[in-house]
Subunit: 333 residues, 2 copies
């Protein structure tokens, strides 16, 4: 079903039909009515590529994330989709699998008009950010969420990661922990640094020692990470508290504790940043710092649309920092 066919059916020119469909003020109400009716009857839908080519707009946004089998990112996508659907926009999904190489390949694909804007949470290998700078230079609207690139001047939606790191550590200390192991995401991520700084400051404030043996820097090799956690938890001076930056590592820690027959929370307490729906049902239920993932997704998307629509952005929106919530459960009892 093309415009020309629709026009023939109506005995009108394609110009008139096209204008009627976009509700142009040049067209009479009666013509509009006839055109709309016919279009609906024949289920006419404009060819998206012809429209996009002509209008230089894609009606599409891209979401670039490191992984998808993770409740945080799933909920973020849900939030993104809710706003995009409202705006009649399409959503492309790209996974970097935590590889900078893939992230660059993806951003290259997005350089030439395929999308009107990009929402991105960078990979844990992303240190050099020239590929992101290039998007900026091409004036492609760009909004970061959660894992942001500090050196790029674009809106950033995050949670209060320093304070999350600090409060989680304070909580463990209040519950009697003295040797607290911090399991980091990649240390190069600023989100990871902020969480770790919160942890370090809380430890220092309470006069507790931290040494490198208590900080695990995770890589992308899951098995290797588990081995590091296993070694730490089975060492003679093992920690009495584990603070995981991502739920994946908390789950690993639970499994390794079971393996080593370490009792949570009696022998070791566990806390984690997590959006697990089952946190309350775990054995024992897990204390979490939970981010408002859905809200992060929808807020980032709203800001992206402000840029796309060239609306003014309040400076306060430009660096939106959501609060995360400490939910105390039995793993730190």
């Amino acid at each position: 079903m093309k415009l020309i066919q629709l026009a023939k059916e109506l005995n009108l020119s394609i110009s008139t039909v096209s204008k009627a469909l976009r509700d142009s003020h040049e067209i009479s109400a009666s013509t509009k009515k006839k055109v709309l009716a016919k279009a609906r009857e024949l289920n006419y839908e404009a060819n998206p590529f012809a429209s996009s080519l002509r209008k230089q707009k894609s009606k599409t946004i891209a979401v670039v994330i490191p992984e998808i089998d993770n409740n945080f990112f799933c909920l973020v996508i849900k939030g993104i989709e809710s706003i995009a659907q409202e705006k009649g926009y399409h959503v492309l999904i790209y996974l970097t699998h935590e590889e900078i190489k893939k992230e660059i390949a993806i951003t290259n694909l997005l350089q030439n008009g395929r999308v009107d804007g990009i929402l991105i949470s960078i990979s844990n290998q992303t240190v050099n950010t020239t590929h992101l700078e290039e998007l900026k230079q091409k004036n492609i609207p760009l909004v970061f969420f959660d894992r942001v690139a500090d050196d790029i001047d674009s809106p950033k939606i995050t949670t209060d990661d320093y304070s999350g790191g600090f409060c989680a550590t304070e909580h463990l200390i209040e519950r009697g922990c003295k040797r607290i192991a911090f399991i980091s995401i990649s240390p190069s991520l600023s989100i990871s640094k902020r969480r770790m700084n919160g942890y370090l400051d809380s430890m220092k404030k309470n006069g507790l020692e931290t040494d490198s043996s208590m900080i695990i820097q995770c890589s992308n090799d899951e098995e290797h990470n588990n081995q590091l956690i296993r070694e730490l938890l089975s060492s003679t001076n093992r920690p009495d508290g584990v603070f995981a930056s991502v739920e994946k590592d908390a789950i690993s820690s639970y499994k390794i504790c079971e393996e080593l027959k370490l009792k949570i929370p009696e022998e070791i307490k566990i806390i984690s940043f997590s959006n697990l729906r089952t946190a309350a049902l775990l054995n024992p239920s897990m204390t979490t710092i939970t981010q408002p993932a859905y809200e992060i997704g929808s807020a980032a998307t709203s800001i992206l649309f402000k840029i796309i629509e060239k609306k003014p952005i309040h400076l306060t929106l430009d660096k939106t920092i959501f609060k995360s919530e400490l939910i105390v459960r039995n793993s730190t009892q």
Copy 2:
């Protein structure tokens, strides 16, 4: 960066440059080399809408699913993405939120060339399938997975749902359950019927009674579903076994048992279709029938590409049925 600019830089016509970029046999090796080098240098990427309009191909597929905050669908997407990335395809995501109205709106958007193919798992409200039939009539490649529309002649990737339903029930009966409550997804879904038939046949085979009070037909109103489960579990002749078709309802059941102080598995046993990564860590760990979600996603996508590329499809692939796995844990001990 447009083709015309690239051509000027190279002192060649745009035809030649275009052909060189697509490795046409009409172009000399030396010219190709020069063109490729320059294109890389200037980071040239063809305008996707111009290409798509001209070639009548979008290099994009759509994934239409009822929800995303669910481990099954997350893993499916991961499987889909792996194949799409390999093929250089883009992936659009659409959520129906279990609403037939949204499903129809989405399929209408996909009628006019926006995608080269569609992967869909239908909403639980989808009984009438004319909107899917229309896609077929427009020759848009279509592959169903998990929640399939039986009456549409398209490839369908599923798991052995009847046998999953049967084995789960047999397992509960072996463990001593006599009154087993089946929590269904929407009854209109064929996947739901198959699971329920497996349940019913196992009950009958073992001479156990089933009455309608033991079968909960879930709606899209989460709170209402929970209320139904709560009423059932607090009734005087409550079940001694719960078989949930989706993990969401199993999680609700766990929570309600806690609320009612019903001990799992002593007073009530629970089994569920589920891809929860934390199933083994729940209190108690949950017995699951687990579907190979990632494989379902990648298999469905491979078949979709066979259709897109007009390769012959073996009849055996057309109705691929994966095996799901019964993983016995403590909730049915």
